[in-house]
């Protein structure tokens, strides 16, 4: 297992380098640069040129790329052009907000997504099933910026229960964290709940038609055991795959939700970096997100073996 994980990690290094190179090249191909953003709409061409020189953007492409990789080899992701702080520090500063909201959102997704999916499958072709699928469809269809604004109007402006935005670190004030993270987590979770519910439902429906389920029922097992032990055990593989994808999405942050709720997370960091053409931050941020996705994929592969004993890590299958 350990050797497999190590091999997968080593294999990811060239891929990460490729990601960084593509990110660097693509951003250079797009017109505009951080000097334009710093200068703003009122800056003169002279001012823009001065800012560009100050930021070192007048250096040739290869010099800038070489400097990036030289720093990377020393574990330095560079310094954000516009934030004035190291890229690594900027990412570390924002990770707690993104990770904690992602976990909160993931928890909501698992509880509601799996429940809705299972209940819908068990009550197939009934009004419960249709209601569950309408909820799932709404979750998938409603844009999360709209959901976010509606939640603000309802729970912040009208009811006054939760703050309109901002983020309180869990370590500083757990209750404050819960209050500040709830609306963003719900906004993010709605889409994922819809996805997970639909996947779970279709996987469960397929499994529930299998002979061994009929056999289990014929043996007189309780419905709880039939579903919980025999049926759900066989939908874990597709569900774990989807959960891995969902967590990848949540971990890379959501520009829209973080902007609506003024959460200083990874999504807003990367979104703003792209809008400002903050090259080091874009490269460093994408590199980090790519590494996180690879780790999650690795984790999902390992979980497959746990979910299904027939799967053997390293390529052997029984």
């Amino acid at each position: 297992m350990a050797a497999y994980a190590l091999r997968r990690l080593l294999q990811s290094i060239p891929l990460l380098l490729l990601v960084s190179l593509i990110a660097f090249g693509l951003m250079k191909l797009v017109p505009g640069d951080p000097a334009m953003v710093m200068g703003g709409p009122n800056a003169t061409a002279d001012e823009i040129d001065a800012i560009r020189r100050n930021l070192g953007l007048d250096r040739p492409f290869w010099v800038q790329l070489g400097a990036f990789y030289w720093n990377l080899a020393q574990g330095d992701l560079g310094r954000s052009l516009l934030l004035g702080q190291p890229v690594g520090a900027a990412i570390v500063e924002r990770l707690p907000a993104t990770i904690s909201i992602a976990l909160y959102s993931m928890g909501l997704t698992l509880v509601f997504g799996l429940s809705i999916g299972i209940v819908a499958a068990l009550r197939h072709n009934t009004i419960v099933d249709q209601a569950a699928m309408v909820i799932a469809l709404l979750g998938v269809s409603l844009p999360n910026f709209w959901v976010g604004l509606v939640l603000i109007v309802l729970f912040s402006v009208q009811l006054g229960w939760l703050p309109t935005g901002g983020y309180v670190a869990f370590g500083d004030d757990p209750v404050g964290w819960l209050r500040s993270a709830t609306l963003p987590a719900v906004s993010l979770a709605l889409l994922q709940i819809g996805l997970l519910a639909r996947i779970t439902r279709s996987a469960m429906l397929e499994v529930l038609r299998q002979d061994y389920i009929r056999t289990a029922r014929a043996k007189g097992l309780s419905e709880w055991k039939v579903v919980g032990k025999h049926a759900f055990a066989n939908v874990r593989i597709p569900v774990v795959t989807v959960i891995g994808l969902i967590f990848s999405v949540l971990l890379s942050g959501s520009v829209i939700v973080e902007t609506v709720f003024s959460v200083p997370g990874m999504g807003a960091l990367l979104g703003n970096a792209i809008l400002r053409r903050d090259y080091p931050l874009i490269q460093g941020g994408l590199l980090f997100v790519a590494a996180a996705l690879m780790l999650i994929n690795l984790l999902v592969d390992i979980l497959y073996a746990w979910c299904d004993p027939r799967v053997r890590i390293g390529g052997d299958a029984r």
Binding site: V30, P31, G32, D33, P34, M36, V37, M38, G39, G40, P41, N42, A43, T44, A45, D46, E47, I48, A50, I51, N54, L55, S80, L81, L82, L83, G84, Q85, A90, E93, R94, L149, I152, V153, S156, V157, G160, P163, T164, G165, G166, Y167, T259, V260, F261, S262, P264, A268, L269, N272, L275, R276, R277
Partner: protein
């Protein structure tokens, strides 16, 4: 405006007179209530607090409370002294001698001397965004700890006006920070507030600088200077870029004030007794300029046809949701250089005349590309309506929508692929006539004439604006330059949109200026 005479000192007597005209304060300002923390929601991210290298409005909103300069601008955009006690100009107009105010301290407790001023000018000359203002300066020196001398290569009657521009001013920093690379400047100034914490993309918190001595030469704050008093213990600027979230936070009392209230929310907020909506009617000039190098707008007749076709009211109505005023020139009424010279060329709304001009030009249907962006809805909506009006007059108008950095880069670096660029001017207008004309003058005219050679008649008038010693001559030259700019369609001022802010009713003393000032305001109860 303080008048600079040779061998005449710009003392506080003259400066205070100028100030009194704008502020009319009866008694020196003191805080009715001291203490409390004010939370203010900004509409944009603050890209660092190194004011020497950032032209961003968001940076300026925070930095103006932290840093100060030798000289700045008052409410009416006249130069006034700030860290300088006085300034005298030599007979030949080549030497400007500043005497520094006594007892000014930095946030680190150190007393400011002329060595700090020298270091600040040294750094600004290396990295300052607007270091072009130092172009006529031969050098500077500090003969004693309270004296700073600037020596010019040639006399420039408007030098102090240029030095007092607050977009990216020569803010005074401690000498030990002279070598700080761009965006890595320790945030230490002499202003009424000092930095407590800056969390990029999230918030900036500043706290009162207890060692700050308000400038007692003035009665109250004016513009960026005057008697600035920090009544609050602290101010937190929260970056909330989503307008609906920002106004919701204000309504529920999570923040005390917000920047940029969207037009759709203004009536609702104004009706709320817990809130006060404030506005500055002359703020954002909606401007477009044609590309003089690319066909078909390289043809004067085509450009004039475009100008003839446009209905400014219709454009501004859509661009600002009805929140606008037309403006018949490149300056706002009341400004020193305001003139309506050439105003008959604006808002013609005459498609038939446009068609006749197109026929004279031999226009063959070549596309007219309007380069715009969606990040600034005013610009995008302007381009949408303008395209339709041009089409109605027989022009083949089409939009090219890029994001803001890309659109700006294209307009500045390329002379093909676009014909009209949409933008907005704020401080370009507010800081006065010469600053406005600079946009259209050599060496970097925005309208991209062939080889960047600007119309000689315009350039002659522009030079006179810069060099004439009598104000009346400069004003007359400005009027000629404006007429020429409109006749040749270098840039077109479509109208003005206001700046609208809102605060909780317990925030007192707040007024809307070009930037958000956190001095001379207090929290009641």
């Amino acid at each position: 405006m303080p008048t600079i005479h040779r061998r005449t000192r710009l003392t506080m007597a003259t400066a205070a007179l100028a100030l009194a005209a704008g502020a009319a304060a009866a008694e020196p300002f003191t805080c009715p209530v001291t203490g409390g923390e004010l939370i203010f929601a900004l509409e944009a991210q603050v890209p660092g607090l190194d004011w020497h290298v950032s032209n961003s409005t968001a940076t300026r909103n925070v930095a103006l409370n932290i840093y100060e300069s030798l000289i700045t601008r008052d409410d009416n955009m006249n130069p006034i002294l700030q860290l300088a006690e006085d300034v005298s100009v030599s007979d030949d107009g080549l030497a400007y001698t500043f005497t520094l105010r006594d007892g000014v301290t930095f946030h680190n407790g150190k007393t400011m001397t002329s060595a700090d001023v020298v270091a600040s000018f040294n750094r600004y000359a290396q990295v300052g965004v607007d270091r072009g203002i130092l172009e006529p300066v031969e050098g500077w020196e500090a003969p004693d700890p309270r004296t700073f001398v600037l020596r010019l290569r040639e006399a420039r009657p408007l030098f102090l006006e240029a030095l007092s521009v607050f977009t990216v001013p020569v803010s005074i920093i401690p000498a030990e920070h002279e070598g700080a690379p761009p965006q890595q400047l320790p945030v230490i100034g002499t202003g009424p507030y000092k930095l407590d914490e800056f969390r990029a993309d999230s918030f900036v918190r500043i706290v009162r600088h207890d060692g700050y001595q308000p400038d007692t030469r003035y009665d109250t704050m004016s513009g960026m200077g005057g008697r600035r008093v920090a009544c609050l213990d602290a101010v937190t600027f929260r970056m909330m870029t989503e307008a609906a979230s920002r106004t919701a936070a204000l309504e529920v009392g999570e923040v005390h004030g917000v920047e940029d209230v969207p037009a759709a929310s203004q009536a609702r907020l104004a009706a709320d007794p817990n809130l006060t909506v404030t506005r500055r009617d002359t703020f954002w000039m909606n401007v477009f300029y044609p590309n003089h190098s690319a066909p078909p707008t390289d043809n004067l007749k085509v450009r004039q046809a475009m100008l003839a076709a446009l209905d400014f009211d219709e454009i501004m109505e859509a661009a600002t949701e009805g929140n606008y005023k037309l403006n018949m020139g490149f300056q706002f009424p009341g400004q020193l250089y305001y003139t309506e010279e050439g105003a008959e060329l604006l808002n013609q709304a005459d498609p038939e005349r446009a068609k006749a001009l197109l026929a004279e030009a031999g226009y063959d249907g070549t596309p007219i590309v309007l380069l715009t962006n969606r990040q600034f809805p005013v610009m995008y909506n302007t381009s949408l309506v303008m395209a339709e009006q041009l089409k109605a007059a027989g022009m083949n108008a089409e939009l090219l929508v890029l994001d803001w950095p890309a659109a700006l880069a294209k307009s500045q670096q390329e002379t093909t692929g676009w014909n009209v660029f949409h933008t907005g001017w704020i401080t370009v207008i507010a800081l006065g006539g010469p600053q406005t004309l600079r946009q259209m003058a050599e060496p970097n005219p925005v309208h991209k004439p062939v080889d960047l050679k600007v119309d000689p008649e315009f350039m002659a008038a522009f030079r006179e604006v810069q060099t004439a010693t009598a104000l009346a001559d400069r004003q007359a030259a400005f009027a000629r330059a404006q007429r020429r700019a409109l006749e040749t369609v270098m840039a077109v001022p479509l109208g003005v949109a206001p700046k609208v802010q809102a605060v909780r009713a317990n925030v007192k003393g707040f007024s809307t200026y070009y930037n958000t000032r956190m001095t001379n305001l207090w929290l009641e109860n």
